[in-house]
């Protein structure tokens, strides 16, 4: 899967202010412009509390913008309508549903008949190594497997854009590393366009095509880095030995360090 220059998502001077009409408005996102190309993984790194999740909520149409615009597939986002697949640090699996019925959730919402939805889910489950667990309840799975189910749920829905908000940060180191390369491979195979929020610079470098570094709140784009091996499915551990990795790591590290604090 090679990149085209086609843009699937575009943010144009997007601005979000919480409690704008109150005495204590909080400007979370100042003016963010970025574009996501089809088939690309774009990483967003930035200090915690700088407004990353806020930006995602705006892209998903869950909160309104106070300025600028966001469009997905050429259509301006006005409200939540299922144009994005959203995955969070919490897997948010429904404990009362089996694995397969968790995967079909989004398809059900879209009104797909149960039988068809299950067939799609079953295929994904088998393709990505969860066969045999279809009828297990999430409580019986490890944290890594649960996140995998959450990813299956997102993929089954076939959204235009996938938003991953620190999806691995609750996992232990080894599981995280494993899942990073797995998820990258899956995203590549499915040809998905993804924005990944992470505060792990290494994760950004090994998973993304481009990395956007954000400033402190209110978030603005500070720099954009092109990852030289962006399209390869890299081994997140082996990649650390490459000289470009070291170079990029310390550059981004410094940029985050230098972000002015309020």
């Amino acid at each position: 899967m090679s990149l085209t220059q086609e843009t699937v998502l575009e943010a144009d001077e997007a601005r979000v202010v919480y409690n704008e009409d109150s005495d204590t408005p909080v400007e979370a996102v100042r003016s963010i412009s970025l574009d996501l190309r089809r088939g690309e993984v774009l990483a967003l790194v930035g200090p915690s509390g700088c407004g990353k999740t806020t930006l995602f909520n705006a892209i998903a149409g869950l909160i309104p913008l106070q300025g600028g615009r966001v469009s997905v597939g050429g259509i301006e986002v006005e409200k939540a309508s299922g144009h994005v697949g959203y995955m969070l640090q919490k897997d948010l699996l429904l404990p009362w549903r089996s694995v397969i019925d968790n995967v079909t959730l989004g398809l059900e919402v879209r009104g797909k008949p149960k039988g068809e939805a299950r067939k799609i889910a079953q295929e994904l489950i088998e393709r990505y190594g969860l066969a045999g667990f279809e009828n297990s309840k999430p409580s019986g799975l490890s944290g890594g497997m649960r996140q995998r189910v959450a990813l299956m749920r997102t993929l089954a829905f076939e959204p235009e854009v996938i938003l991953l908000d620190e999806p691995f940060s609750a996992l232990d180191f080894q599981t995280r590393i494993l899942l990073q390369s797995d998820v990258k491979r899956i995203i590549r195979e499915e040809g998905k366009s993804v924005i990944l929020i992470t505060h792990d610079i290494g994760e950004a470098i090994s998973m993304a095509n481009r990395i956007v570094v954000l400033t402190n709140r209110p978030a603005t784009v500070k720099t954009v880095h092109e990852v030289p091996w962006g399209d390869e499915v890299t081994d997140p551990v082996a990649v650390r030995d490459r000289p470009e990795y070291q170079e990029m790591f310390s550059k981004i590290w410094q940029e985050l360090e230098l972000a002015p604090r309020h």
């Binding site: 309508s81 299922g82 959203y86 919490k90």
Partner: protein, 276 residues
């Protein structure tokens, strides 16, 4: 019985590794606990009897174990105990079913209208705080002296408890789940059916537990106030006549009814747990 099923489960365990391990000594422990439970009962009766023999307890104020047994035998023989039991059981069960089902439904549906939830908020706090049994005299006036008024008392009290609990359940649903559903483009009704309703089941079930007690209180207090039949009526009437043995028979019968209802609710709880 319990032993046999335990062994059966131990066998299937090798086939299904995720099943939690059972301790083999558990069955034996259970029998021991049952034995001790009976021991406590016997000890209490013995203490009662010793109190009577030594003159610490007066028989006409406290009744006697033998007298209770005799009263029980006569009332079984002439059918009055069964009759009172049956009347109260109907009141309790009908009140419970009506109150719990309508209350849970109303509490769940309130999630759909945040505006109404806000409007009703002070009323909910007031209802939660008031001793609900204080409504009983009013309800008797409205519904008359028959069984209907006792059913109504039990239903109204259990309604309030079920309503408040179910609504609380909807409020405790993870907001991120609701955010997820919205991002999937779900309608409010879809979120309600797929997330809020099943997510509130634990709260609804805990309300069932509480409501066994409330339904019993409602029916019995209703019978105290005014009735022609039922265990509450029997206890109250016998108390007026200083027939303490019959009072005990009534109280023990109520305890048995409570135990049966608790067991039924525990079974429902288990079923819902498997579904959910």
């Amino acid at each position: 019985m319990a032993m046999a099923t335990d062994i059966g489960e131990a066998k299937t365990q090798t086939a299904a590794p995720p099943a939690p391990k059972r301790k083999p000594r558990k069955a034996a422990g259970r029998w021991r606990i049952t034995a001790y439970q009976f021991g406590v009962l016997l000890a209490l009766i013995a203490l009662w009897q010793v109190g009577l023999w030594t003159g610490v307890l007066r028989p006409y104020i406290y009744g006697t174990p033998l007298g209770v047994l005799q009263s029980f035998a006569t009332q079984i023989a002439n059918g009055t105990l069964i009759w009172h039991f049956w009347v109260t059981a109907q009141e309790v069960v009908l009140g419970f079913v009506i109150g719990c089902s309508l209350g849970s439904l109303a509490g769940l549906l309130l999630w759909l209208s945040p505006l109404w939830a806000k409007i009703l908020h002070p009323y909910m706090i007031a209802l939660n705080g008031v001793p609900k049994i204080a409504l009983a005299p009013l309800i008797i006036v409205w519904f008359g002296l028959g069984m209907e008024s006792k059913i109504a008392i039990a239903a109204i009290i259990t309604f309030i408890v079920a309503f408040l609990q179910a609504y609380k359940g909807t409020q405790e649903v993870d907001q991120d789940l609701i955010r997820l559903m919205k991002s999937l483009g779900a309608s409010q009704w879809q979120t309600f059916r797929k997330i809020v309703m099943p997510g509130s089941v634990p709260w609804i079930v805990s309300a069932l537990r509480l409501n066994v007690g409330f339904a019993l209180i409602g029916a019995v207090v209703g019978e105290y106030i005014s009735a022609e039949a039922g265990l509450g009526y029997m206890v109250y009437y016998s108390g007026q006549l200083y027939d303490l043995n019959s009072v005990w028979v009534g109280i023990f019968s109520l305890m048995i009814m409570a135990l049966i209802l608790e067991a039924v609710v525990a079974r429902i709880e288990k079923l819902l747990d498997m579904e959910v």
